[in-house]
Symmetry: C2
Subunit: 353 residues, 2 copies
Amino acid sequence: MVSRNVKLAKIGIGSNYPVRVESMLKVPLDDTISCLEQLENLEKAGCELARVAFPRMELERNLATVASFSRLPLMADIHFDPRLAIAAIDSGCPAIRINPGNMGSKKGIESIVDAARQNKTVIRIGANGGSINSRQLEEAEGDMAKALFLAVEEQLFILTRYDFHDIILSAKSTSINDTIRSNAMLSKKYSDYPFHIGITEAGPGLLGIVKSSCGLSILLKEGIGDTLRVSLSGDPCKEIETGYEILRAAGLRDRGPEIISCPTCGRKRADVVSILGKVEHLFRYMPDGFKFAVMGCEVNGPREASSADLGIAGTPKGIAVFRNGKILGEYPAEEIPTILEELLKQIDSDQSH
Amino acid sequence: MVSRNVKLAKIGIGSNYPVRVESMLKVPLDDTISCLEQLENLEKAGCELARVAFPRMELERNLATVASFSRLPLMADIHFDPRLAIAAIDSGCPAIRINPGNMGSKKGIESIVDAARQNKTVIRIGANGGSINSRQLEEAEGDMAKALFLAVEEQLFILTRYDFHDIILSAKSTSINDTIRSNAMLSKKYSDYPFHIGITEAGPGLLGIVKSSCGLSILLKEGIGDTLRVSLSGDPCKEIETGYEILRAAGLRDRGPEIISCPTCGRKRADVVSILGKVEHLFRYMPDGFKFAVMGCEVNGPREASSADLGIAGTPKGIAVFRNGKILGEYPAEEIPTILEELLKQIDSDQSH
């Protein structure tokens, strides 16, 4: 799939770039300090683009403040009022997310497109299962996936009529199936635009993580998705962490080290969970894609441990330590954290030379 | 895909049955009390089949004790020694997991097949990335997915030579891609056997949950998988919970109520996370597939909330409560937990009449 690329300040989105991981501020613009704090945490977590709800004109100054201090590009999320869109563009947001269909008059749309063109602002348009109205659903003969497709197409026509193309498309639903089908229809016809993907209102905790992982991994396998958001109720940094793990699982991005650890069973000779608890923090600064394996016994252990960059496996004689496929020795469990710490220091120093 | 069905005590596995969710005991057979406790917890969590490592003949009595008191069917996991396989069958395990290729002599295999046939024991065979040897990898010209396929085929030939077919197949790797490719090759050729699916050594916490969700959802979408295990380092009940959420996401099983909740943003009028914390436990006993939506604002909120069996959405006037698509009223946030509790009591009592 060849997709057009768009630029939001320093980051590019599209087929020339890695799939981006984004989130959205969960604190209101009324509180600029909290916004900037959350943006800083998001950036540390690896977030590349942050959406921010901009619901009222009196928050314009706050948006400008946050946009100017933020090190992440912002996408202002706007509904119903074209003045908000213009104000967001004027405030320095490199992107806005609107639904051109609910922006009122033709004149409103024209003013948004003019401002966006002048400021090289990217416009994300899209439909969400929760915003489809009964007319749209009827036109799609009750098929939500088709209704989402038609709604996005309708929005796209409004913008392309003005020969505006710096657009990101999205179609999202709480139903994985509807999300996949609507995106498949869209990407078949409009693959020249970058796609934002996500499963909306995926829910709290485990449920949301599993649902997002399942839905997004299938989309990514179909080659759909240039930027993604994992919607979770809770800390937005967890959305970022989950997003990167989904991309790692899809073989698309390898952020941070990877830990391969066995679930353990009655055969275990090494207490995998306790060892992991003691050493996991040591790996935090290892390079992207660095593989560490922790295996409980000699059945699959030695092979997995020797396939990793660094690995340990329980054996009848103790815990075997492997580095780059070579066994370094077998040691008592209590010595393992110190041995790993020493090895990681050495690996780290070898890499900086 | 039509697959042969097998029976393990009271549960069937194959195309006539729902995809099963299984786990493995993480405590050794040496401690029968802990084994039975973990089995009870697993059963409560919804586990339908539990594997148990049976590494030494002196644990035979313990295995028999656990098998006779367990309410879950057990699959004894055995390596290298045919006597262990026979002992497991004699101990009343309805299934064993072996690698016929490492069971020694032809006579050993014959005795296992005889005992299995006599006792209607199901045999799971399979290959794991960690157990592939260099000869197998060489034969597959270095392609791990093909090596897994060939290894499973090799094991299958050993059993089918004796016209034994109560077999479950599995091919697992820490690589999602190798797991998917090897399963695709196997299911193309051997779709008449049920498949056990999983991503091995998926790792700790979030990483393991995401990796398993991504890999298994793609396999399930391809129609592959009759029983699954999510391998996580940690509490095996978490494996079961994750397994059911993966099946829910795949549209295959709906276990327990489903919560749809928005990630919240700066627009939120309802504090979704805090409300969820207060009411989530009330939903525990709602029927399978019962949908509860918690939405922060009026943008997508009312539609999502009214599409659910029960839903709430923040609005400028308070929190709107919806039941079966009808709005019941708008209330202050602090009244919501009590209102929901009353509604759930009523729903529960309506259902029992």
